[in-house]
Amino acid sequence: MSNKKELIISKIRDGIVIDHIPAGRALLVLRILGITGREGFRVALVMNVESHKLGVKDIVKVEGRELTRDELNLVALVAPTATVNIIRNYDVVSKFKVVVPDVIEGLIKCKNPRCITNQQREPVKSRFRVVSREPLKLVCDYCGTIHELSDIERSLGIA
């Protein structure tokens, strides 16, 4: 059953496969990676397929775009179970489980309206330090406000 469903999408030649994404979160993963679909490269997305590990999962395949390990690790914010396969010439050349990085810059908006990072005319990017991964807890490096998963989801427009 599972095999049949995965065959909906063909193998990719060069690129990445992000597997074991919690069901329903593939679109969020693309948002975190900054992929809109208008860039021109091929993107495949499978949602709600059977998984031995998770019961149901999503998969994202991106062809012809290099992503750094740091960029890919950001996926862990919304998909902590995700694994990344790097594909070269149809072969998996490396594989890793994503981990939330120690510092997250620019991606998330601080929820404190009085924080310097929310002042529109200042050249400043948000910066968060991870104080706990399970449960996820980030602290704004400028104003010290604590952020949890729900705050991050709200910031990414997905709560």
Binding site: N112, R114, C115, I116, T117, Q119, R121, E122, P123, V124, V139, C140, D141, Y142, C143, G144, T145, I146
Partner: protein, 310 residues
């Protein structure tokens, strides 16, 4: 974290410094008390910029006095009306300019993280003189210095902090500073002004001993220091919320009747009505003394950061 000393450092939070650094500062401040009403020429030719985007009396004037007593000069502004920010200039550009003019910048701003941001832009040391509800490290250094001078120690003391524990930045910085010492904390506030989650988690992470009550009478007989802060009216998102809590606590003669004989009352000032004027005449009242120590403490800080040789 090992000590990096003071020379050329930004002063953004108390936690940027170690207990040893603080003790170096206190020893230097004690030395500076001799010169707080005269003049040293150890910062001759140095210029300090005071960028006060928010009102201040003591902090601004004690920094200014400290710099002048050390032989240096002061430039700056108080309020944005007379500056190009009134024309729409942003903080980053303003800081770049002050950085070019001065050897160090003292900044107070209503936005949280403003001082840290300024420090990232400026090459010169930036000293945080208050950013929103977050930090006011030099006030906390002054508070600890006052306690250290009164008791000869900070370890072992019982410290009550009464008032607006939610919005007062001095409370944040004071508790950060006290985390370096073995103290018992009694936090006293009306329910809506209880400390924020960030502060509670900080105290827990440092293993600090604390409790909370809304009734100062329950702890007054235990405290060596009663630190009082006003309700930070300007930080309330909703003025109705302020009206609900104003006047909910007051230190008066009746309360301090129950206190230990050597108990001292501190207050960062300005005071509104949270300490009865009658208390000023008791031997417990040390808040004016505390304010006067702001000059030698800030002399010591400027000397250490700017590298004045005496």
């Amino acid at each position: 974290m090992g000590s990096l000393g003071w020379l050329g450092r930004d002063v953004i939070t108390v936690l940027d410094f170690t207990r040893e650094d603080l003790e170096v500062l206190f020893t230097e401040a004690l030395n500076m008390e001799k010169y707080a009403k005269s003049r040293l020429n150890i910062l001759n030719g140095k210029v300090l910029a005071l960028a006060f985007f928010e009102p201040s009396t003591r902090t601004r004037l004690s920094f200014e006095t400290a710099m002048l007593r050390l032989g240096g000069s002061v430039i700056g502004f108080s309020g944005v009306e007379a500056t190009s920010m009134a024309k729409g200039e942003n903080l980053a550009d303003t800081i770049r300019m002050l950085d070019a003019y001065a050897d160090a910048i003292v900044i107070r701003h209503s936005i949280e993280g403003a001082a840290k941001f300024a420090a990232e832009i400026a090459a010169s040391p930036v000293i945080n003189a208050g950013d929103g509800s977050q930090n006011h490290p030099t006030q906390a250094m002054l508070d600890l210095y006052t306690i250290w001078r009164e008791f000869g120690t900070i370890d072992g003391l019982s410290i009550g902090i009464l008032g607006d524990l939610r919005y007062a930045r001095v409370v944040n910085s004071l508790i950060q500073a006290l985390s370096y010492y073995r103290v018992r904390l009694h936090l006293i506030s009306p329910e809506p002004l209880k400390p924020r989650r960030e502060l509670i988690e900080f105290m827990n992470s440092r293993g600090m001993v604390y409790d909370w009550t809304d009734d100062p009478y329950r702890v007054i007989n235990d405290v060596d220091v009663l630190y009082v802060v006003r309700i930070q009216r300007e930080r309330f998102p909703d003025p109705m919320e302020y009206e609900r809590v104003r006047g909910t606590y007051k230190v008066d003669l009746k309360l301090i009747e129950k206190a230990k004989p050597q108990m001292v009352i501190l207050h960062p000032l300005p005071r509104v009505d949270e300490i009865d004027f009658a208390v000023d005449n008791t031997h417990h009242a040390k808040y004016f003394k505390q304010a006067s120590l702001g000059v030698p403490l800030r002399m010591a800080l400027l000397k250490l950061v700017l590298g004045g040789e005496s």
